[in-house]
């Protein structure tokens, strides 16, 4: 086998999982299409995939889905900035002040597993039916993983690195900025990535619930009009956005942290 052939072979093998994954998705749609067209599945509950794909054009032209997307994205990014500032700072402070950590860590962890989206009526009362209710819901829901991962990152800094800092007579501030913080950055990024995904889920959910804002409201609108194909198409779009979001964050992380 020539080198080129080997290379070709290996790239072919690398893309196999992706192809199989995509293939099974296509197969799933084909099976659904078949079941619906033959009447085995009620088309008033699940519209056929062909119709869903067909209604994408309508979503783009009539419902201005890209504008909706930008609205949701803006909310996510705002929540993300707030998470980075308050979540990381919160984690740092909790690590710094042991009493605070002992007092709060348990309920922060409990918050991480609670369905905080149910708190939306409270937020509606506090912030009113506007974009801040949505952003705050995303922010609060995503705060626990960011705080917990920040604490984890700082406290798992290897002892010997801290000792190196001490042996060079670093001040506490230098010890933090030159050693603890960079050492925990990879873990903090994991927390932020998780947090941003939590935020996206809760932001779209809240938009749906309070019928306001971007993609979530669009789904609510379409469902209320009983535009089933459109609803499903919008849901597919949200899933697509989340996957892209996730992949972008992963890429950004690898780009920001040169060598793991």
């Amino acid at each position: 086998m020539t080198a080129a052939a080997v290379a070709k072979h290996s790239t072919a093998r690398d893309s196999t999982p992706a192809l199989v994954g995509f293939g099974s998705l296509v197969a799933f749609f084909l099976v659904m299409e078949l079941l619906i067209q033959t009447g085995l599945v009620n088309r008033f509950i699940v519209p056929p995939p062909s119709e869903i794909i067909g209604s994408f054009q309508r979503l783009i032209l009539e419902e201005d889905i890209f504008h909706r997307f930008l609205v949701t994205l803006g909310e996510c990014l705002t929540a993300g900035v707030m998470l980075t500032v308050f979540g990381v700072t919160g984690g740092v402070l909790m690590h710094r002040y042991k009493l605070l950590q002992q007092a709060c860590e348990t309920w922060v962890a409990a918050m991480a597993s609670a369905p905080l989206v149910l708190m939306y009526p409270l937020f509606l009362v506090i912030f009113g039916r506007n974009v801040w209710t949505i952003i705050m819901m995303g922010f609060i829901a995503a705060l626990p993983p960011v705080i917990l991962k920040t604490i984890e990152g700082i406290s798992s800094t290897r002892k010997v690195l801290i000792n190196v800092g001490r042996s060079f007579n670093l001040t506490p501030a230098q010890q933090f900025w030159k050693i603890l913080f960079p050492a925990s950055l990879p873990t903090i990024f994991v927390g932020l990535r998780l947090g941003l995904i939590f935020a996206l889920i809760n932001i779209v959910g809240t938009e749906f619930l309070i019928n306001f804002g971007g993609l979530g409201q669009l789904i609510n609108d379409l469902a209320e009009r009983y535009d089933l194909a459109g609803t499903y198409a919008a849901i597919c779009f949200v899933i697509l956005v989340s996957v892209l979001f996730f992949m972008t964050l992963e890429k950004a992380e690898r780009w920001l942290i040169p060598v793991g």
């Binding site: 690195l161 000792n163 001490r166 042996s167 060079f168 960079p182 942290i257 060598v259």
Partner: protein, 280 residues
């Protein structure tokens, strides 16, 4: 051969006086270091040798000012230390490079702390990187280097701070024999040039005899001073001295001391393991 006695602190720059360290563990207190006293004269190369687990790293941490639960006093130039002392530079046994910094930025770390301008410190860092034989790796991250290369980065980083007293805890343990000998030559050369007072912790007898003016042999648990051996070999020394006859005599002598301790240690560990086995 000098017995283990407290040297007069007048001539020594670094003095350890009756150092005792106990660790409280769930299974009871461990006496890691027991009443160790010695002094290091300015410009002297002293090695501490002993079997694994005898308390060498513990002693290293006490002298470096990183441990404060000990009894006894460490003083540098007559001044009792209460924490890391600015004239002591430490090279740790564990991997201690900063994975988020390139080799150059790792080595330039102490220079950055004293506020040296960037261009100047990069140039200084280059100098020390070359000294440990890592030219060409300046812009790599530690994650891209071998364990031995990373250890050399840590060494260069400490050398870059130009400490008056250099404290090293098995810095060459991760290296192969040839690299160890060559790097040993290099360290010796630097040490002789800078007249740096050096305390090397090792369990390699050849390395200790090759480099040291004196060797402190420790006992196994509790770690006491068993013997201090003067190495009366001519300087400058290179790794070639290894094949001389008097070198062999020193090695044989220290080995017989250490063999006693090491086998005592292994018997103790076996007994411990047996007890554990009986208990479970």
């Amino acid at each position: 051969m000098a017995p283990a006695a407290t040297p007069s602190s007048g001539t020594a720059i670094l003095v350890a006086d009756n150092i005792t360290v106990r660790f409280e563990t769930p299974e009871g207190a461990i006496l890691a270091v027991d009443d160790v006293s010695f002094g290091v004269r300015p410009g002297e190369f002293l090695s501490v040798i002993g079997p694994s687990g005898c308390g060498k790293s513990t002693l290293f941490n006490v002298i470096g000012g990183l441990l404060s639960t000990h009894q006894g006093v460490v003083s540098v130039a007559g001044e009792t230390i209460t924490g890391p002392h600015k004239s002591i530079g430490m090279v740790f046994q564990e991997e201690s490079t900063f994975p988020w910094r390139t080799v150059t930025d790792n080595v330039a770390f102490p220079l950055e702390l004293i506020g040296m301008p960037k261009a100047k410190r990069v140039e200084r860092a280059r100098h020390f990187i070359g000294m440990v034989g890592l030219d060409g790796f300046e812009n790599r991250f530690p994650g891209e280097l071998s364990g031995g290369m990373r250890q050399r980065v840590s060494l260069a980083r400490t050398l870059a701070s130009e400490p008056k007293i250099l404290l090293m805890d098995e810095p060459f343990a991760a290296l192969d024999e040839q690299t160890r000998l060559l790097l040993g030559d290099k360290v010796l050369q630097i040490q002789q040039q800078l007249k740096q007072t050096t305390l090397l912790i090792t369990h390699n007898i050849t390395e200790a005899v090759q480099m040291s003016d004196r060797i402190l042999v420790m006992t196994y648990r509790p770690g006491k001073v068993k013997r201090i051996v003067d190495i009366d070999l001519p300087r400058p020394r290179t790794s070639e001295i290894v094949s001389s006859e008097s070198f062999g005599r020193y090695v044989a002598q220290i080995w017989s001391d250490l063999r006693e301790e090491a086998s005592r240690g292994m018997r103790a560990d076996e007994k411990h393991a047996l007890n554990e086995g009986a208990a479970s």
